[in-house]
Symmetry: C2
Subunit: 420 residues, 2 copies
């Protein structure tokens, strides 16, 4: 799977809805929001009739909205019938895998213009039912009956990681602080507050209620306060966990030779990789995600690049430990060094390897089927200098997305490049 694409593929426009909780909206409404923004973003415009296929990532509208067969419904909702429309489901990697199939559809010569969508509407269910629905992404024959839900899975991985590398658990808290720092600069993020903002807001609320005003020496003190940041599954606390979210994202892909017709600032997909794995219990080690390493190796080989060529990355931080492991699986840091890099600020916007400038799943939100597509929105913004207050300087040239399903039963990696 490391062959070159037989035809180049470019992104010529992107859009996303606000991420958050929108009780009045269906997922299809959120997709309209994303698609409208995408239409505005295509510099020279386009006729929707040019779209030849619609690849849609969605994890479980089946359970979240009691709706299957969602791809043609969404296509019809935005006026695209009779375009070929298909839903891809690979748990939280659904969006990234949909992107990959769209890339292959263009490379195959069958399509010149393809719409990729990702969407999920999770907040209609109670938190307990959401946790149960998400658990269906694990092996329900073996893993779920053993008592696991996803915070437990990632807590086990975190425990293994901390033990194996004698890592400081504070590194995880640092990841959360950093991602909230970035998310505060993303107008589409579910959580637009820095941790310091959260602290100030909690103090103000206490004052308003005439309660004792909590004292925190700094953000780390807040993050270690069991009341402010309660333990969910040791060592993961509330601010280690991505939220339950509603949201949608959309990306327009065209064949490389057509890109300039649509925009003078396309970004090109120069690497792609995907891999799978069995249940977590079958893995030799819990401190890394083999499918991520496989997918990254494929993408690097296709792009002819190494990890050091990547200027920034959007990685799948469903839990903070997942971001730390991702930075190792992707080769940004040696095994066992990712936590040190997080502690030292190397993944911050001004660090050596900026990660999750969008706020990541943690702060931007994690409407699971949308997340892999929303990562491409950040690629577009950063590579084109459109990322506002969170814009990396100098403007990056090459970015990478890393999207995981389950505990790594699926991983898909893409590499993007600007040429202007």
């Amino acid at each position: 799977m490391t062959k070159k694409l037989s035809r180049g593929v470019a992104v010529v426009g992107v859009g996303m809805s606000k991420f958050g909780a929108f009780p009045e909206k269906h997922s299809r409404d959120l997709f309209v929001e994303a698609y409208q923004e995408l239409k505005q973003s295509v510099q020279n415009g386009f006729d929707p009739k040019e779209i030849e296929a619609f690849y849609m990532g969605n994890f479980s509208s089946d359970h979240f909205e009691n709706q299957a067969h969602l791809a043609p419904i969404v296509a019809s909702w935005v006026g695209l019938s009779p375009v070929a429309s298909m839903r891809i489901e690979d748990a939280c990697a659904s969006g990234g895998v949909a992107l990959r199939q769209a890339v292959l559809a263009i490379a195959s010569g069958q399509c010149d213009v393809v719409l990729v969508g990702g969407l999920e509407k999770m907040t209609d269910l109670s938190a307990a039912r959401v946790t149960d629905a998400l658990a269906l992404a694990a092996d329900t024959m073996f893993e779920v009956p053993a008592g696991f839900t996803f915070p437990g899975f990632y807590a086990s991985m975190a425990t293994a990681y901390l033990d194996q590398y004698h890592a400081d658990p504070d590194a995880l808290l640092k990841v959360g602080i950093k991602n909230h720092e970035n998310g505060a600069l993303n107008e589409k993020a579910q959580f637009g507050q820095r941790i310091s903002d959260v602290m100030a807001s909690k103090k103000a609320k206490a004052a308003q209620k005439g309660l004792p005003i909590p004292e925190w020496a700094d953000e780390m003190a807040f993050m270690k306060d069991p009341k402010a940041n309660p333990m969910i599954a040791w060592p993961l606390r509330l601010f280690d966990c991505s939220p339950v979210s509603d949201g949608a994202a959309a990306v327009l892909l065209v064949s490389e030779e057509l890109a300039q017709k649509y925009t003078d600032h396309p970004i090109y997909i120069i690497g792609a990789g995907q891999a799978s794995d069995g249940a977590l219990a079958e893995r030799d080690s819990l401190s890394s995600v083999p499918s991520a390493a496989h997918a990254a190796a494929q993408a690097y080989e296709m792009a002819g690049l190494t990890p050091d060529d990547i200027d920034f990355a959007e990685v799948h931080d469903c839990f903070t430990i997942a971001e730390v492991m991702a930075t190792e699986d992707l080769g940004f840091f040696p095994r066992g060094e990712g936590w040190k890099a997080a502690m030292a600020g190397e993944t911050a916007r001004d660090g050596k390897h900026p990660v999750n400038t969008s706020g990541g799943l943690k702060a931007k939100g994690h409407p699971v089927g949308a997340s892999g597509v929303a990562q491409v929105v950040e690629m577009w913004k950063q590579l084109n200098g459109l990322a506002g207050g969170r814009q990396l300087t100098p403007r990056p040239t090459v970015g990478l997305t890393h999207n995981v399903g389950g505990t790594g039963q699926t991983c898909v990696v893409h590499i993007f490049e600007r040429r202007s």
Copy 2:
């Protein structure tokens, strides 16, 4: 979407499980059965490590088995990790759409060898819950609240068809009789009985119980007996409806230039088309399926063929009326003439346009995500002269598959050819 594939694709092996009700098995076990048969069918064998991607059609393991993210689990279950694995969901067209994505993956140059799977395990739930789960393939915002489930949808389409063309409803019964006739010759079929066998068996049962032995002048009399063949949703009776089924199917695709390495009797995919549509209520007419006509037009154009070049077809007879409409949507008969052709036996094995020689969904069974892939199994058998008692003579050269999701929100068509 009517461009030629940039690279040819061949089928080099197929397999399927028995279709039926298997309370002791999970869908992954059924897939093992299909995959083992596939391995046996590849003349020169192959190393599973050669498989570069796994495309899996499944409608709702989410609801039927309480399991999402099924593709990597199934891949792991048959020893294929870390192969890129993805689930395609387009309701009952999931299998056919998975096939199409696999074709594009090979055409893109990214893969040489791809496994396509389709599976569904439906019989664990009660019939009422299965009907509810299937209804999620319709628009649950508008159609389901109006009281529709799938027998009702297709009954509405049948009513519209019968009215518009002053058609004889007996034509539908003829389709059921014909498909049971074929299914009786298919050892994998859920229902291995001709309608005459069903009559004989009902008579024997009555005799055994000392009840009055029913008298039916012929099969049509049986099919019109409201006790023997009760009305489900007028004009559709029990024997107009495909069953609830468990089953899996698997197909191995390779690039055209590699085909002879695997077998001296590959079959080639020379046409492919896919289209979508909105809710049934938005359609101008209920007596045809526009997405099927679109998909067929694409496939014919790619193959450079016309409907008269098709020697036989496997079409999506979820209900008998669907087969009649399919034979018109695919251009085998003019609009409004499909029912006459069914009456006249033109779709029987010895007719001008043999349809559903496998028994179709009606008699073979309809494990929804598997159906589109199982259609390819019949292509392989008929084109290679391996179809036993139901083998068409002379051995056909070109066959077509037609797989529908919902009431035509998705349709995917493929055309297959033998060259030896």
